[in-house]
Every structure is written in C-alpha cells, then in structure tokens.
Amino acid sequence: MSRVLVAMSGGVDSAVAAALLVDAGHDVTGVHLKLAEVADADQVPGHGCCTLDDAQDARRAAQVLGVPFYVWDLTEAFRTHVQEPFAARYAAGRTPNPCVDCNEQVKYAALLERAVGLGFDALATGHHAALRVGAGHPDAGQPVRTPHPAATLVRGADAAKDQSYVLSVATPPQLARTLLPIGELTKGEVRRLATERGLRVAAKPDSYDVCFVPDGDTAGYLAGHLDAAPGDIVDLDGQVLGEHDGVWRYTVGQRRNLGLRPTATHHRRFVVDLDPTSRTVVVGPRDALACGWFEVDAPSWAVTPPPADGDRVRVQIRAHAPAVVATLHRVGTGWRATLDVPLHGVALGQVAAVYDLGDRTCLGGGRITAAQRPAGLPLAASAR
C-alpha cells in the first residue's frame, strides 16, 4: 500500500484512475488543480479542464469513491510556466505545447514537490499511458502498480488515446514517483468501469482543447495577449504575397486562413517558415515543408542510461502523429534526429518525443530548437 495523491481533473479518466487506486488498496487522496483562471462567463461546459463544473465533477467522484478531496490553487505556477510562455513562444515564432509544459513545470514540479513534502509516495494521473518495470530488473516488463524505482513510460493500451507524448519530458526519478492506473485499459473499458462504479462522468466527453482556451480559438486568445506585429507574407523567392498582423497567428505546416488568393501556379500554399525578427511568414508548396532532420537542444531523457549517438529510434512530433524512424546524433550540447523519410510541417517549439524502434517505450522528449528548411529560403537555412 502506498500513499497516493491522484490529480482529478473532473474527467472520466482520472476518476477511474482514482477508483483503481482505491481498489488496489492504496491510501488515496484526490486533488483538483485550479490551473487556468477562466472567467465564469467564458467557461464552456465540457471544454477545457478548469471550469467549476469540472471541480464539482471531481469532488463528486471523490465522494463516491470515499476518498478525501482538496482543491489546490496552482494558478500562479500555471500562469508563469504555461500561459505566459504559451503567448511568448508564439510571439517568437515557435509552436508550444502547453500540455507538455504543464506536465513538466506544474504537475511534475510544483505538484509532485508538494505531494512529496506532504508524505505521499506517488502522484497518479488519468493519462492514457502506462508504466512498466524497465529492463534489467527482476520484474522487467511487469505493469507498475505501486511506485517503482525502475518505472519506464510506455504507450497506453488504447493506441488511439495514447498520451505518452505529453508525458515524454518526465525524468526517471519522477516516473519512480508516478502511477498511471488506466494505462493498461482502453477508453471503452474506462467508461465501462466508470458506469459500474456509478461515476456520473462515465459519459462525459473528452476534452481536446487547450484548457485556458476553452473555445478552441487560439488565434483569438493570442490576439488578446499579444500586440499586433504586422509583416509580410512572402514566397520562397522572397516575393511579397500579402500581409499579416503577427507571426504568432501562424504555425509551420498551416494551410488554412493564410488570406492569400490562389495564383496560376499555386493554389495550395503552406507556411514553411516563420521569422519573428523580420516579422516574415514564408509560404510555399507542400514539397517545401519536407524536413529531413531536426534538433533538440536539451532533451529530457526518461530512461537510464539515455540513448547513445547513432541509436536508431522513432520520433513523434505531434500528440497523435505516427512515430517515424530516425537516427540520433549528438550535435554540440544537443541532439539531432535524422529522419529516414522526411516529415512535413516540423515547427520549432514543438515537442519531439523519442520512442524505441518498437514504438513502445518512451525514451524522452524535448522541444525542437532547429529544423531543416528548404534550400534557397530567404531566411537562414535553419532557424537556429
């Protein structure tokens, strides 16, 4: 039996995670995190993760399970480490992943620290990702049911729901204090268990949006937090095609809402690069998005020992993108992933999660700091 603090978002996954911990005989305490401050009037029921309805759903689930429940205000840490960098990184032409930032800087920092300070052995969440005992240990390959010093992160049983990507920045010491109770279940099994337990969130829809942008309008959110910074939209030859009012409205790979009229030669154009300094958005054909390598300055490794130079791995650059084969090489203080087959739409700032060749164990992750760009771009070849 361990003392486990379970983060309860008010959704079905974390409610069932708490239920499974209770069933396993752990001493369970539920905590709902107040993260984003979303004005009551802007709260969209069922969207985002910080509405009052969600707090109520989490509280009710804890009651049904008979576990003590607290609400902790982590809005300051969330604002400093997630919300403000979110806007700042877009302004710098990067594409941030706020869920990864939140896991790394809030849940595995402020929250885990407080939990350990209060005598908890582990922090549990309702992520669809699993923990297995790592190689070289007598129990290697077994599911982790109590905090385990050799816990490694593996993909969840429900491939379509797998969230190991957003946990890829967890370190081995953090994973040793983590439990992921629903990782061996499919979403359908989670919902069935919730129904059996009488949890009223059993049929609650999944949340897909950034929790502090509950209406899903990222550009609108950024417009409210960043000043307009107008500049040119140019093609690969540097010819000006149009204007924009901030590079933060764009992401590499974006095709929609460019505001460009089709021309005789190009009717489908994609954002292929962003230069916040000259406020330039570069557009081009899909071929120009092909990216043969990218670099991560400071990856966080989830396994000991970490990967070595020349290792063949898989890399995943979006939450639900397939992981593709790459070779890792040390470059300066960071690492370069050279892709067997080029990827299209690699944006700086995106998190690259690294998996083993079998696409099962997560080896680590980090933010993309440089990526191959088409030769002949008016900007630097790599946006270092």
Binding site: V22, L52, A55, G117
Partner: protein, 409 residues
C-alpha cells in the same frame, strides 16, 4: 462524443457506493467562524416547526405557523434593539447583505433618476457586500468608493466620513471582519452620518456571536445577520431595515415580509433563528468569559512557534474574542490546511473560492499583510481540550512541514 455541448445525465438508480463515506472523524473544530453548530434551543425549534403549515395561509394551522415566525421576529428584534417591523427574514447573510446594498442603491436611483447614487464601503468587507457593490458600479447603477482599512483590519471612521459625498446613498461597514476579527465602531459612524442623513448598513454576520450588537442604539438603517454563525441552522438570516429606508426587493412574488422579501416563510428555519439568537444573546457574556482564556492560550501557543505573527488589532477590545488569526513563514497555505485536516484539526486559510481552493485573502491584501494566513476561530462548543489538542498538533505539524518531514499519521 466530440465537441458537442455536454449535458450531464445522472443515472437515477445509482449503484451502491464503492466505499462507505468516511466515518465522522474526531475533529477539533477551530473553524466556528465558518459555521458553528446550532444550539439545542435552535434544533428543538427547528424540529417542532418542520411540519408547519404555510405561515401566510389564513387557516388556523397557517396562523399557528405564523405565530412561530412572528415570535422569531420579536426575538430577533429584541436581540438587536430594533422594532419587529424592521426585521426581514432571508436565506442567510449573503442575501441579507445583497438586499441592503442593492435594495437601497436601487431605491435611491428610483427616487431621483437624474442622479447616480454613490456607495461607500471598505476593501475588507465580506464578498456578500463587496461583490454586489462592484456589480452595481460596473452596471452604472452607482458610483463606488472603497475605503482601505488600517493594517490591523479595522476601519478608520474619519476616512469613511471623508469619502461621503452629497450623492452618497449608503455607507456599508462591517461590524467585525470575518477573517481578522477586527471590530469597527459602527455606532460612531452611524451617529456622525445621522446629521447628514446618510443611511448606514452594517454586516454583523461575524460579530453577533460574541459582540453586543445594538442596531437601535447604533442608529444603523440596515444590518445583516446569518443564522449559522451564531448557533442557528444554515440557510436562514435576516436583514434589519429601518422602516423609513426605501428598499427595492431582490425577489418579486407573493409579497411576504412587507413586500421586501417574497417567498414562503421558512417557518422552521426562522423559528430556529429566533431561538438560537435568543440563546446566543443570553449566553454571550458567559461565552466571552469562556473564550477569552482559550483564545489567549491559542495565541500564546502559536507565538511560541517561530515565524508566526498574530494579525488584527492589538487592543483586545477591538477584536472578536472568538478569532485568532496568524500569519506563518515557511509553509504554504494548501499544505498547512491539508496537514491540519489530516491531523484532525479544522481551520481556515484564506477565503475559499467557488472551486474550493484556498484563493488567498483579499482582506490580507487590503491590509498589506504577507505570510500564509491561518484563522483559528472558537465558538460556543469550544473547550480547553480543543485548545490542548490544537496546540499539540500545530506544534508538531508546523515545524515538520517547514522541514519537509511531515507525513500523515
């Protein structure tokens, strides 16, 4: 599923609970300021009147119910030194404050639509006053002046008087602050404003359990109270509204309670309020004498822990005998509340927000005070043993939280 609007459907035949609710823990209650248990007199009155008829009905069962309501009205009036005609029953302190603040401002606006009424209150008021005040101002229904407190949480009468203008329709100053226990001289304020014909409202919700509140002698035009802060049940309160004070109702309906507060009389709760308040007033001098040494022991015991500063007025006569408020170094509010709860001591940190998190304290911010707040509040059931146990737990928990070595028992 997808992104469609989420309608919650609760299964009607809930399966059996997976775990029994936790048994009532032996908890030392040092959070009487949040809610203090009903006194036996209140419980008996509630029990007797729960099956009452509609107190507005003409038949004799209705008349019997109405008698309970009117006896309670007289009890409240007597406890506060006002006329029974001035007592309006509400659902609690928040409604009582809202009725006074919004009702008076709106009535002033109706009286002279050409002028925008002016409202004066303080930055340390309970949200039941501050939120409607800000809401009225945002709507353009009034202009608003918020007077800051002294560092100890008390309100300087002269500063309030200086904020009053010829358009001031209401001045609202709490009788005692709910977090710090700082007591204000509402009588002096009302006397000074009587000459200028400016009505004064006072939120006496927190004061009433331990302070003598004589609304008549103070000369306030309005006053709010809440049952569950003084030994009556939750869900009932009252507003004193002087008969010459025009008030626009919040709820329109059957016109009960002189048309100011429509809605069927909550006969049981109202009877319990009358009985509870009567008992509280009778016990009040003795209660003060019982609580003073308990509060002193709590304060002394806390002071013995390093890095603890007591908040609120230094002068014991200017603070509620029920409240010991301190600020601690080196420990965060959520951890402190959690650890004390686990150790079986119920306390309060800042004020709880709607989600239930410790939301920090607007009162401490208004006073310019730093540190992690901890409010220990005593009530009519408090004992020496409560204080012994609380000091034992605090002396154990606080140093260990600071050292990072705390674990639940």
């Amino acid at each position: 599923m997808g992104a469609g609007r989420y309608r919650r459907r609760v299964p009607l035949d809930l399966p059996p609970l997976g775990a029994e609710p936790p048994p009532d823990l032996p908890v030392v209650d040092l959070d009487h300021a949040a809610s203090t248990p009903p006194r036996p007199e209140a419980l008996a009155a509630l029990h007797d009147a729960l099956t009452a008829a509609n107190a507005s009905a003409a038949h004799r069962p209705g008349q019997a119910a109405r008698e309970r309501v009117e006896r309670a009205r007289e009890a409240v009036a007597s406890a506060l030194g006002v006329s029974p005609h001035e007592v309006v029953f509400t659902s609690g302190g928040t409604e009582a404050d809202n009725l006074a603040v919004k009702g008076v401002v709106w009535a002033a606006r109706e009286r002279d639509p050409a002028r925008t009424p002016h409202l004066v209150t303080t930055t340390v008021e309970h949200p039941a006053v501050l939120a409607p005040a800000r809401w009225l101002a945002e709507r353009g229904d009034c202009t608003l002046t918020l007077v800051p407190p002294r560092t100890d949480g008390t309100v300087d009468v002269e500063r309030v008087l200086a904020a009053v203008t010829p358009d001031t329709a209401l001045v609202s100053v709490m009788a005692a602050n709910n977090e710090l226990g700082a007591v204000n001289d509402v009588g002096a304020l009302a006397t000074a404003l009587a000459e200028r014909d400016v009505p004064v409202h006072s939120d006496a919700v927190q004061a009433l359990a331990t302070r003598d509140v004589d609304a008549g002698a103070w000369g306030v035009a309005a006053l709010a109270l809440s049952g569950h802060k003084l030994g009556a049940p939750q869900g009932v309160g009252a507003t004193v509204l002087r008969r010459d004070l025009p008030v626009v109702p919040l709820a329109h309906g059957g016109g009960q309670d002189r048309g100011v507060r429509s809605g069927t009389f909550a006969t049981g709760l109202i009877a319990a309020l009358g009985a509870g308040l009567t008992a509280a007033v009778a016990d009040r001098p003795a209660l003060r004498a019982r609580l003073a040494p308990l509060a002193d022991r709590l304060a002394d015991g806390l002071a013995a822990l390093d890095g603890v500063v007591r908040s609120g007025p230094d002068d014991p006569s200017a603070r509620l005998v029920s409240h010991v408020h301190v600020r601690l170094d080196g420990v965060d509010a959520a951890s402190l509340t959690f650890a004390l709860d686990r150790a079986g001591v119920a306390t309060a940190g800042g004020s709880a927000c709607s989600s239930g998190a410790d939301a920090g304290s607007h009162v401490l911010a208004a006073c310019g005070l730093l540190g992690t707040p901890l409010r220990l509040s005593l009530g009519w059931t408090s004992t020496d043993a409560d204080v012994d146990r609380a000091l034992e737990v605090l002396g154990d928990v606080v140093p260990r939280l600071r050292a990072g070595t705390w674990t639940p028992a």
